[in-house]
């Protein structure tokens, strides 16, 4: 699991400063990776199953509504990366923001993938975003 997240997050280069490498690899990457997947999945479930099935809301199933959730997910992913890094007391470095940006992009990807898989089960939004 750690190795998986490490390979995903080190696509943007090794952690900086190098001295913090073990903390990033052992703690920060798995944390933000798991949280990112979990939150993306949760938001997809809320959009397709809660709002557009259980609650039966009929006016929140357009592409732009989906995009609101997509952007929301990216913002949360960005924030989580920064807060997790600071929680582990890593040295301040611009790398934290690069990592947060990368995490946001990964959030977009996860959200999109989960949307493709789970949209069929929704009653009102089974064709959103396309």
């Amino acid at each position: 699991m750690k190795a998986l997240f490490r390979s995903i997050y080190e696509l943007i280069g090794a952690p900086q400063p190098p001295a913090d490498t073990p903390v990033y690899r052992d703690v920060v990457f798995p944390n933000i990776g798991l949280l990112n997947i979990g939150i993306s999945l949760a938001l997809v479930v809320i959009f397709y199953y809660v709002i557009n099935r259980m609650m039966g809301v009929a006016t929140f199933n357009k592409g732009r509504h989906w995009a609101i959730f997509l952007v929301l997910n990216a913002l949360v992913a960005f924030g989580i990366a920064i807060s997790q890094a600071h929680a582990q007391q890593v040295t301040d470095h611009s790398y934290i923001y690069w990592l947060a940006t990368w995490n946001a992009i990964l959030g977009l990807i996860w959200f999109f993938l989960f949307s493709l898989i789970l949209r069929k089960g929704s009653t009102n939004a089974s064709t959103t975003p396309f």
Partner: protein, 455 residues
């Protein structure tokens, strides 16, 4: 009503999120989780390494147990021959005393009071040891020797100590000027052999160790040089004369005694055969570090500071060298080995297949002491630089060599006819001690590290 039920259907989604959260790691979780695993040292050097540097197993735990046990017996021997009279003159009208009197009286009192030994016995050395009480010997030091012995012969004193007083957990402490006057000048070249023979006559003691502490004191009385032919000097002297405290016994007992009673005061010192537990040491990744490297230890993020041993180098070149600092806690070593000049000269770095060099050794400063980082736990720092990344895991060892301290040569004289703060044939005496403790000189400590490429 409809709204409420739909809201309650949200719960599965929330539950799912909550289920995912505990999967996350945090440093504190891991610390407690794997606390047990940490205790087992994982610093076993990689096995595939060619020409691996021999590594001493950490003996800190064993040694700590040994140190906490008090010594069985401490036997203190004070030489009371004529040559010692000048150190212990009869108290003059003005009540002045010599440094020797002040120091030795205090030392005897400390020995008498110490909790580091169960039993303390005091002896005056004439032609053989005479048992004395603490009060008796203290009075001798303070108010002068009543009946000085003619002369005491160092080899025979050492022989007596070794055959009658050498026991596990016990030390013999010998206070003397250690002026060895052989019966004739022809014996001078054999001083070393005489000492070695004296120490081994009663049988071989592989564990035996000797610590020598040197002091100087003003001297008021008759001075007897080792070379009898040059004649004694009355009303000596303007210069200070050296005297010594030798601690003889099994290595761990000598170490315990030194630590408890002789390390507080500044002194010249030399140690023979004394072994010390491996000091605590660790790499410091955020202290004067340079270049691209990080802790390569397994589970590096959840270890306690003080136990990092593996340098993972991700990048190194002549333009961008890697520099790392090893913190060492040398508080358990005697002063001589904590001396910065000694460390700079004798701390060596040995590696395999690497250009790693020891740049500098520094002592802790008020700044590092006050630091909140792990560097506050160490007394000395060794900085290492390398410019070539290792190809595979390779051992790297910091080793403190056991060298005769420079003061021995300065305090040695071949002719002591003129009183001076030097002792006749001192280095010869110490040569004899060294020969006894074996041909091979062991390093004071070895701190194994590992260099490996960053993954």
């Amino acid at each position: 009503m409809r709204h409420l039920t739909s809201f309650s259907r949200l719960l599965p989604a929330l539950g799912l999120t909550l289920l995912l959260l505990p999967g996350c790691y945090s440093r504190s979780d891991m610390k407690t989780e794997e606390g047990a695993a940490q205790e087992a040292p994982t610093d076993v050097p990689p096995t595939e390494v060619p020409g691996a540097v021999p590594v001493r197993t950490p003996e800190s735990a064993v040694a700590a147990a040994a140190t906490s046990q008090p010594l069985q017996t401490v036997n203190v021997f004070l030489e009371v021959s004529g040559s010692m009279e000048g150190f212990m003159p009869k108290t003059g009208a003005s009540g002045e005393n010599t440094k020797f009197q002040q120091h030795v009286a205090q030392f005897l009192s400390e020995v008498n009071r110490t909790s580091a030994a169960r039993q303390k016995t005091f002896y005056r050395i004439k032609e053989r040891p005479y048992k004395d009480s603490y009060q008796g010997i203290s009075t001798t030091v303070r108010s002068g020797i009543q009946q000085p012995a003619k002369s005491t012969d160092i080899p025979s004193v050492l022989d007596t100590l070794m055959s009658n007083y050498y026991q596990p957990g016990s030390v013999s402490v010998l206070i003397s000027d250690f002026i060895y006057s052989p019966k004739n000048a022809g014996a001078i070249p054999y001083i070393k052999t005489d000492i070695t023979d004296a120490l081994t006559r009663s049988g071989s003691h592989p564990e035996m160790a000797v610590s020598v502490y040197g002091y100087t004191s003003d001297f008021r009385g008759t001075y007897y040089p080792a070379l009898v032919a040059s004649g004694k000097k009355t009303n000596c002297c303007d210069t200070e004369i050296p005297y010594y405290i030798w601690v003889v016994g099994p290595a761990d007992a000598v170490r315990t005694f030194d630590q408890a009673l002789l390390e507080q005061q500044p002194s010249k010192q030399a140690h023979f055969g004394v072994t010390y537990p491996q000091p605590n040491y660790s790499l410091l990744s955020k202290f004067q570090n340079k270049g691209s490297w990080y802790y390569g230890d397994a589970g590096a993020s959840k270890r306690n500071a003080e136990s990092y041993r593996v340098v993972a180098v991700s990048e190194a070149s002549a333009q961008q060298p890697v520099e790392f600092v090893v913190g060492m806690d040398l508080t358990t070593l005697p002063g001589q080995y904590r001396d910065l000049a000694y460390l700079k000269q004798n701390l060596k770095l040995q590696g395999v297949d690497t250009d790693a060099k020891l740049l500098d050794v520094t002592a802790t400063t008020s700044q590092t002491k006050a630091s909140s980082g792990p560097e506050s736990k160490f007394t000395h720092f060794a900085k290492v630089r390398l410019t070539r990344p290792p190809k595979a895991a390779r051992p790297l060892v910091l080793r403190l060599q056991d060298q005769r301290p420079a003061w021995v040569a300065q305090w040695t004289t071949r002719n002591d006819a003129t009183p001076a703060p030097k002792t006749f044939a001192l280095s010869g005496l110490l040569d004899g001690l060294e020969a006894q403790s074996g041909a091979e000189k062991k390093p004071i400590f070895e701190l194994p590290l590992t260099l490996q490429p960053g993954e």
